[in-house]
């Protein structure tokens, strides 16, 4: 041991109270400054986020960043005796007195303890606060209350009177020079939606992970006098921690220790690998805490995910997690896992949408070492069998409810008429992002066509978060309603009530929408690889009587995982055809929206982009193919050899409009002799030999009429072969695949599931090299999944020239640029999410 050894600067556990090791968060400082001095100056500020994301550190730094006329006093409610209002107020008074004395050189005496406790509320406000205002002169007092959930806990435990909230509200209303900043250790997403309206008046800012730039500074700057961290090592740390402040500090702490043991000028990615085991051991308390603070179903999901992604933090689908458990002889209820997925994503432990990974790879590594699936299976036998709600579940809800109560106080503080920022929607405000995202037609891009409306009067919607009513000029006289509930149970109840009102399930309803040969139809989707089977989405269609008058055509779409359903009604006298046309129109922002910079709709995919994955080279495998049926408006017809269909093949067609597509699809079915009414509802088909099933693609939006048909092509002849035909309504296209001689529906189904249904999720996992000159020209390899048929590679918004592409790799030439930028890939399925792994730095 050598006392002259350099001190490890990284802080792995405690809040950062000094300035040298604090990076980023300028957005928070700007937010608070703006709101303390602007028109919202009387509005309390709430900083919220999961534990360990640095909220306390931010409060410490805020004190240094505010105008000195704002006298900040930090009060950690963990450090106060909250047994009774008197003790709480006495503790606050003492903290204020000491804070003003130590940090601001102002003297304010705390009244005698006995006097104070005899009438705490009055003494605090009159004797004490008046003395504070005298001492402050023209300045303001900013109380920074950390760990405010303790108030809720103490009220719930009966040690603190609920009236404390009223009293705090009173203080805030009557002392204009008093400002509050609350720190709340949870995500607002976790708060019960019952309380959503309570949060309608405070100003909120989430404290999440560090921005990439700040994280890079944290990794490189503190050690700049000792060693360099190689770009690959920086990248590695970012990939492992995602910029989580605690875990980034932890890994860097271990890296510094490694350097101390064997100093060298540059620490490489291999050095990062070498310290990860130690980082997990040092950080064990936090990694264990995440586990211990999770509900049983969350633990089951995490263990299943770690098992399903052996060796690396690669996103996995829900179904793979289920399969991992099934291989262990256990079938966890999908609904429970879906619920766990939502909460773990909200807690930022998991990330992703269609496929998920761990936000912090250290957590996966910890699970791999300490909570393997078979071990968890042994630990949670009763959970796996019965899924009981433990006391911890109650505790979490309880503490969140209490936090909600605190925020209610915050909300009361704001005078009416102040412009507000809403973490949750409130009556009179805009749609929630979830609702907006699921609106049909082009409403998603034309938010101004929707208004928050009152709950429906015709049926009961328990736990409703928001109802929207939208009108669109293209839907002449028609209306779209959307309803969001606060829980799966409430969604199910609301959807059931709506259906009862509408007359569903209806006798004789068909299985397709728009209804064909029947008055009503119901399609149930179960092919999305990420949806639990009991969370099936449904599309219903039938006549609806909006209110007293005649009937109109209507569709209803359910989204069980989002607790949302949407009802689209055509105008009086309209037909299902016009409603379907409107529902399937490409998303078009209205003029106003476009002018304000709303993103333009994505172009349609080309036909080659829709081909099965094993048609890897359409230029050589495909040739032009005139359709043997009427297809006015044909853009392209292709016939392709497919190695997965020996002796068979693929034909594909794309039309120039939705109407042309509909006509061509109908003509194809006539030509094909497909009689849907005679068949079953599944593909591969039942003994009837033909079937119709809805299907969804992970790459394209699901639309009405998106269907998979199956039958023997050439039925009735000696050469009958199994065939699938499926549609892409949003792309005005459909594809037909036919097996070869002697093939079966089984082999065709397997091929289809592999090459069509399991389309890779679009992700970028690495960019190599990750640096290059500002002039551009560097040949960069982008690795990931779902990259085939990329239409654009962007370096911070600038397009790169694509040299070659495949499903897992793209080679591109970097355009000129500066700074550190995200490299994203766009395919017909969308654009890759921005991740740490996609960063590229211009040197």
């Amino acid at each position: 041991m050598d006392s002259s050894q350099p001190v490890n600067p990284y802080i792995a556990g405690s809040p950062v109270t000094g300035t040298e090791m604090f990076f980023g968060r300028q957005d928070v400082f700007s937010f608070v400054k703006r709101n303390l001095i602007g028109q919202h100056r009387d509005t309390p500020v709430v900083l919220y986020g999961q534990r360990r994301t640095g909220k306390t550190s931010v409060l410490y730094q805020l004190q240094r960043n505010l105008d000195p006329r704002y006298r900040c006093v930090f009060i950690d409610l963990h450090g106060l005796n909250l047994n009774g209002t008197g003790n709480l107020l006495l503790g606050m008074a003492s903290a204020i007195s000491r804070g003003l004395r130590r940090d601001h050189r102002l003297t304010v005496e705390v009244p005698d303890r006995a006097v104070f406790l005899a009438d705490p509320q009055s003494v605090f406000e009159t004797s004490f606060l008046d003395a504070v205002w005298d001492a402050l002169g023209e300045d303001r007092l900013v109380l920074m209350l950390d760990e405010v959930v303790r108030l809720d806990e103490e009220v719930k435990a009966g040690r603190l009177d609920h009236g404390i909230f009223e009293y705090l509200r009173h203080l805030m209303q009557h002392h204009p020079r008093l400002s509050f900043i609350f720190s709340l250790g949870s995500g607002l997403e976790e708060l019960r939606k019952d309380y959503a309206y309570l949060f309608s008046v405070a100003l909120y800012h989430r404290i999440s992970f560090l921005e990439p730039g700040a994280a890079r500074e944290l990794i490189t700057q503190p050690v700049a006098g000792h060693y360099q961290v190689a770009p690959a090592a920086v990248q590695k740390i970012l990939a492992i921690t995602s910029g989580h402040p605690y875990y980034t500090q932890l890994v860097c702490h271990c890296l510094f220790d490694r350097w101390t043991g064997a100093p060298k000028p540059v620490m490489e990615a291999a050095d990062v690998d070498a310290v990860l085991a130690e980082a997990i051991e040092l950080g064990s308390a936090n990694l264990t805490y995440v586990w211990e603070d999770s509900l049983p179903e969350e633990q089951v999901l995490m263990a299943g995910m770690a098992s399903a992604m052996p060796g690396r933090n690669k996103p996995v689908t829900f179904r793979r997690v289920q399969n991992a458990w099934r291989e262990a002889g256990v079938s966890p209820p999908a609904a429970e896992l879906a619920s766990a997925l939502r909460s773990l994503t909200a807690r930022e432990i998991l990330t992703g949408s269609r496929a998920c990974a761990f936000t912090v790879d250290l957590q996966r590594r910890w699970l791999d070492k300490h909570r393997r699936l078979d071990w968890v299976k042994e630990e949670l036998p009763r959970t796996v069998e019965q899924w009981p709600r433990t006391a911890r579940a109650t505790r979490r809800v309880g503490y969140l409810a209490l936090a909600a109560a605190v925020l209610l106080v915050a909300g009361y503080l704001t005078a009416a008429g102040v412009a507000r920022i809403f973490p949750f929607p409130a009556p009179g405000r805009g749609p929630t992002p979830q609702l907006l995202n699921l609106l049909p037609g082009d409403l998603r891009l034309n938010e101004q066509e929707c208004q928050v409306t009152a709950p429906p009067g015709q049926w009961v919607m328990p736990g409703m978060v928001q109802a929207l009513r939208c009108s669109d000029p293209g839907l002449t006289g028609g209306t779209v309603y959307a309803f969001q509930s606060d829980s799966s149970a409430h969604f199910q109840a609301g959807w059931r009530n709506f259906n009862t009102w509408w007359g569903f399930p209806a006798t004789g309803a068909g299985k397709v929408c728009p209804p064909s040969g029947t008055a009503r139809g119901i399609e149930v989707s179960s092919t999305n690889s990420f949806l639990p089977s009991d969370d099936n989405q449904a599309i219903e269609c039938g006549p609806l009587r909006p209110g007293g008058g005649g009937t109109v055509p209507a569709f209803a779409f359910s989204y069980p995982l989002d607790f949302i359903f949407v009802v689209a009604e055509g105008g009086p006298g309209s037909s299902f055809a016009t409603l379907v046309d409107w529902l399937n129109q490409p998303a078009q922002p209205a003029q106003v929206a476009a002018a304000s910079g709303v993103a333009a709709p994505a172009p349609l995919a080309t036909l080659t982009q829709l081909l099965p994955h094993d048609v890897t080279d359409p230029a050589t495998q495909c040739s032009a193919h005139p359709p043997p049926f009427a297809a006015p408006g044909l853009v392209q017809g292709l016939a392709c050899n497919d190695p997965g269909l020996p002796g068979g093949g693929v034909t594909a067609y794309q039309l120039n409009s939705f109407a042309a597509y509909q006509a061509a699809w109908a003509a194809f079915n006539t030509w094909w002799g497909f009689m849907s009414a005679d068949g079953g509802t599944a593909c591969p088909p039942d003994k009837s030999g033909l079937g119709t099933a809805p299907w969804t693609s992970s790459s394209f939006p699901t639309r009405v009429g998106q269907v998979l048909e199956c039958q023997y092509a050439g039925a009735g002849t000696a050469q009958a072969e199994p065939a699938y035909a499926w549609t892409y309504p949003t792309e005005n296209a459909f594809i037909v695949a036919q097996g070869g001689p002697d093939s079966t529906f089984g082999t065709l189904s397997n091929w289809w599931m592999r090459d069509m249904s399991s389309r890779s999720t679009l992700t970028v996992t690495a960019v190599s090299p990750s640096t290059g000159p500002a002039a551009g020209g560097t040949t960069v390899t982008i690795t990931g999944t779902g990259l085939a048929h990329a239409t654009r590679v962007s370096f911070g918004g600038a397009a790169a020239r694509i040299v070659s592409d495949s499903d897992t790799r793209i080679t591109a030439t970097a355009p000129p640029g500066s700074g550190t930028v995200d490299v994203t890939v766009t395919t017909a399925g969308g654009t890759s999410e921005v991740v740490f792994a996609d960063l590229y730095t211009y040197s």
């Binding site: 006392s3 090791m21 930090f74 220790d257």
Partner: protein, 435 residues
């Protein structure tokens, strides 16, 4: 005659006799030297040397050499075995303050501590005032809390205690170095305490076995100045008996030194060491066994059986273990963390050559137990059911030969359908039932 330089009864207090742990010491001191004065939690099995480490850290010369100026850093070691069921937070704080008073050179702080000790009541706010004064004077306080599970397992110490302590640690120059047998979060008396954020301010420092270099250093430094020299064979024998476990190494070396002092011939010294060491080790092996989870006991038993069949070389691969207990891997890792298993080539071995035979000796029934097997069976209908079917078939011959206390363990082990045949075969070989 030279005095025996090896001791193993009490924790080591003389820093000159403290060997190894350089990495752990630097990690702990490094966290105290950084800007935020951070806490650490030392975790290790009984006798692995936690108390010795805390004593070493608290030594004035040691910490002065580490750059923690003795005038500005007060290190207060507290053995929490004194915390009994009746003790609560306030009494503990009063005890800590008395000890702080003794260690703190600053007269102003000493006076405040004395004043606090004389008050009728003491709460977190009083403590906050004290540690604010500590900050103002540029001082730092480190409480070294040995056997901290005595607190975490005590229901008198509720969440408020941990909230308050965490707040003091975060906002002041106060740090804790705790020691405990398991990670603190595993030793909480309630879910409420377990979910407290208190534990996540600590870095976890696991104490495992010595490295071979630590062992060599311990022997060479200890024998330095004595006329005794251990032969390589003797050192190998000592290591085979004691593994690299510091306590058992001290015990083995102590016995070996005695045998030299007694002038025994080399062959006699070997026998003397084996006999005396076993007598010394067994009470501790009993303690480890009793504090093992059921799956750990199964793995220990499986390891003992595998090592016996693998003679003369001890050790087994994870695959071999999974062949007789498919769920064994996480538990063998847990045992390695506790120091009861050691890495061996690509697998593991029991840390001591004494442990395997001792386990097998324990599980084999005595004749009297075997004779009353049917009485036991009559009282254990569940066991009868479990061995009635195809899966339990192999157990019918085995169970009578197993000691009464261990039969349920064997039945649990046999509930692993993938490995019941292999495990039964292994047991039959050892029990002399193999055809």
């Amino acid at each position: 005659m030279a005095g025996n330089p090896f001791t193993y009864g009490n924790p080591i207090r003389d820093p000159r006799r403290f060997f190894g742990r350089a990495r752990e010491v630097e990690q702990i001191f490094g966290r105290l030297r950084n800007e935020e004065f951070e806490s650490s939690s030392v975790v290790g099995e009984r006798r692995i040397g936690k108390t010795s480490l805390l004593n070493y850290l608290a030594n004035r010369d040691v910490r002065a050499a580490a750059g923690l100026d003795i005038d500005r850093y007060a290190f207060v070691y507290v053995d929490l075995q004194m915390v009994d069921e009746a003790m609560g937070p306030e009494q503990l704080w009063r005890r800590l303050l008395v000890l702080l008073r003794r260690q703190c050179a600053d007269p102003g702080i000493a006076e405040m501590v004395t004043d606090l000790g004389q008050r009728d009541r003491l709460d977190t706010f009083d403590l906050d005032e004290l540690f604010a004064e500590v900050d103002d004077r540029g001082l730092h306080v480190v409480f070294l809390l040995d056997e901290f599970e005595r607190v975490t397992e005590n229901a008198n110490f509720g969440p408020d205690f941990y909230y308050g302590l965490r707040s003091l640690i975060i906002h002041h120059k106060l740090a804790l170095i705790t020691s405990s047998r398991l990670e603190l979060i595993e030793l909480c008396h309630s879910e409420a305490v377990k979910s407290s954020p208190f534990f996540n301010i600590f870095a976890n420092i696991n104490l495992r076995q010595f490295s071979p270099a630590d062992f060599e250093l311990m022997v060479s430094r200890s024998l330095d100045g004595t006329p005794v020299v251990f032969s390589p064979a003797e050192l190998g024998h000592a290591r085979d008996l004691a593994g690299l476990h510091p306590y058992f190494l001290q015990a083995a070396c102590c016995v070996l030194f005695d045998s030299h002092q007694q002038g025994l011939a080399e062959a006699d010294r070997t026998a003397f060491l084996a006999e005396k060491f076993r007598a010394e080790a067994v009470p501790h092996l009993v303690d480890y066994w009793d504090n093992s989870a059921e799956n750990e006991k199964i793995v220990l038993t499986a390891a003992a059986l595998l090592e016996r069949t693998a003679r003369p070389v001890r050790g087994f691969s994870v695959k071999e273990l999974q062949g007789v207990f498919s769920r064994g891997e996480p538990w063998v890792e847990q045992l390695a963390k506790r120091g009861l298993m050691m890495s061996w080539e690509s697998g593991y071995q029991l840390f001591s050559s004494v442990l395997g035979p001792w386990i097998l000796d324990q599980i084999v029934a005595e004749l009297s137990e075997e004779k009353v097997y049917h009485d036991w069976l009559a009282d254990n209908h569940g066991a009868v059911d479990q061995i009635a079917g195809k899966q339990g078939g192999p157990l019918r011959d085995i169970l009578p030969k197993i000691g009464t206390r261990y039969r349920q363990l064997i039945i649990t082990w046999a509930s692993d359908p993938q490995t019941v045949i292999a495990m039964a075969g292994l047991l039959k070989t050892v029990l002399g039932l193999a055809s």
